[in-house]
Subunit: 379 residues, 2 copies
């Protein structure tokens, strides 16, 4: 028996309470059995998003939500700005280009956060930028981009939408959709909201809906205007993924019971403890600034392969962490503290890292990181 501990930055663990709700008999998506379920999930999603905007629910992975954020609001040839500081920044560029948009990239060195004044400078240069795309938490580097600062700049530009990929940030970071002025914010089920993969969520501001009227890009499956019409009737445009939405309802109820402030505090605390503990082991963070509350990216010590750490964690101890992606592959490994995550998850992760590094011949005094974590986790 090798007990599994899932600390990957998605999919994340789903509470048994939610999994068992999802095992209830199938109900029909156009029946009165289902509509109150969707209505409740819809309202609770608005609570989580801190918004009065519609939050569209799609049957897809988070990437489907990203595609919808492009094909519903833009046109062929539109010039947009992509803040690209990691693998998911690259994805924004790829999606925009797949739909014929003209992409101007602000390249951010991996491990760093974008400097908002660079965005401001570019927007001041001309009124040609139709949208600015960014990740809230760039999962590949463990960096959080300053969404509040970016929003305060972009909202001054009438013709520019602000589109945030919050797939791994929602729940872990306090993202104030309405207060800050985020036009489009994408999230997915298999991260902070503690569900299996299969749902994407996208909030859409009135400013963005006005743009949608003029968008001529081909759309059928990700047609947000149709989804909006259906959402008003507590329906989805196509067959609703009923089990996942039943699960969504259950998991959002759990988050509501905890309270939004407590949810954010818990994530901030677990992230902070993880960072302090690995630093106590003499390890360096890959995120040089503005670390994410969702996932901690850790540089493998000199002479040690990051992928080998990741593999040993999994094969020897059943700990499913994240490896490095793209150009960070081999250099780093990643530990998520996202969603259904509590104090002893961090203890397990740190203990496992210590044991793996020691086993690989790296000088580690066992218990060093664990003790630091314990100290910070005493209530």
């Amino acid at each position: 028996m090798l007990k599994r501990y899932l600390f990957a930055p998605g999919p994340t663990p789903v509470p048994s309470e939610v999994l068992l709700e999802m095992a209830m008999p199938i109900i029909h998506h156009r029946s009165p059995d289902f509509m109150p379920v969707l209505e409740s999930a819809k309202k609770d999603l608005q609570w989580l998003y801190q918004t009065k905007n519609d939050v569209i629910i799609l049957c897809s992975t988070g990437t489907g939500g990203m595609v919808g954020a492009v094909n519903n609001f833009f046109n062929n040839g539109d010039r947009v700005l992509v803040i690209n500081g990691g693998k998911f920044g690259e994805r924004w560029t790829e999606i925009c280009q797949a739909y014929g948009l003209q992409v101007e990239e602000i390249i951010v060195e991996w491990g760093y956060a974008v400097k908002p004044d660079i965005v401001e400078k570019r927007l001041k240069k001309g009124k040609d930028i139709k949208g600015v795309f960014v990740q809230a938490s760039e999962t590949s580097t463990g960096v959080y981009h300053d969404i509040k600062a970016l929003a305060s700049i972009i909202k001054k530009y009438e013709d520019t939408l602000f589109i945030v990929d919050a797939i791994s940030a929602l729940v872990a970071h306090d993202l104030r959709t309405d207060e800050w002025g985020i036009d489009i914010m994408v999230a997915g089920s298999q991260k902070g909201v503690m569900l299996p993969p299969g749902l994407a969520f996208v909030s859409v501001s009135e400013k963005a809906w006005a743009k949608a009227e003029k968008s001529k890009l081909p759309k059928f499956y990700f047609n947000f205007k149709k989804e909006r019409e259906n959402l008003a009737k507590n329906q989805t445009n196509f067959t609703s993924p009923v089990t996942l939405i039943i699960g969504l309802n259950a998991s959002l109820k759990m988050l509501k019971a905890e309270g939004l402030k407590n949810v954010f505090k818990r994530h901030e605390r677990l992230a902070n403890v993880t960072r302090r503990a690995v630093q106590a082991l003499g390890l360096e963070l890959y995120s040089k600034e503005s670390p994410s509350n969702s996932v901690t990216a850790i540089l493998a010590p000199p002479g040690i392969d990051g992928q080998a750490v990741y593999k040993n964690l999994r094969e020897k101890y059943g700990i499913i962490a994240g490896g490095g992606q793209g150009k960070a592959k081999g250099k780093i490994f990643r530990i998520a503290h996202l969603g259904y995550s509590d104090r002893f998850d961090v203890i397990i992760a740190i203990a496992g890292i210590e044991m793996v590094l020691k086993g690989m011949g790296h000088p580690v005094k066992l218990g060093t990181g664990v003790a630091v974590a314990q100290e910070l986790l005493i209530d």
Copy 2:
């Protein structure tokens, strides 16, 4: 307590054995825990599809698979033929038009099947038709189009792909992908394969892959070439919907244990019994020819509203049937016998219909249809 009986043409009931498999702890989609699951599901899908072709697995509803069948194989301005004999025929046209294809429709009166020689005549007229789209089972009318006959015509045309929406037909009808020469066949999880909504499946022939090389329509989420590369490694392009694929594995194992011939025979039998029983009640089928094995569409008796029958079934007896869609709304109601369906499901449906009609003042001798069904269901 009002016990529910789900006889809608999707979502259909999911066996508890499958629901509970799906309640197992989340595993990571890029881990060795998951790859054998996908490998097995992939092979069993090929068995069900009767094909050696790749069968792509997408995280979407069946409609997402239909979109992928268009945006991966065609180009702006391509002329295609859509056989439109119901609500889902209309959907093919809408998708093709959303992607800028030139659609020529063969309109088939609702309740009837396409005459294959009309398709042959049109194809002979010129070599300009790049694809022929059809439903195997048109869910809105309960009609099965003759896929074998259509395939034998279309495969003679090198430049023409044959695309079948088998969303509600797979499992209920013997569809011989390779033997007949179906280029692209779309199915979904929430029908015959006895799963919740959330997965689409699409088989792709070598003839179709060759076309994919030349397709320039925008694609990112439904990018079949990328899915094919990933499938070869027992992966999906984006996060795999792990719970649904675990469920897929479980449900395909159940179908395999029954055997393909028996699965088809069961559906054929239940469909036949349903038709004979409702006819014994003096009711008329909406499908005037070639009735589907998935769903039976029944004309409401004169003076009785089809939607009222559907509502009474649900509200008084907990029987979730299908109402009429589009222009058939109010005229008909529909009973599915698809997927996890056995003899006493038919008995319940027929008994319920008798009781509802009697309750609405229609002259019915209770037990007439039930007795016919019983007679035909004795083993």
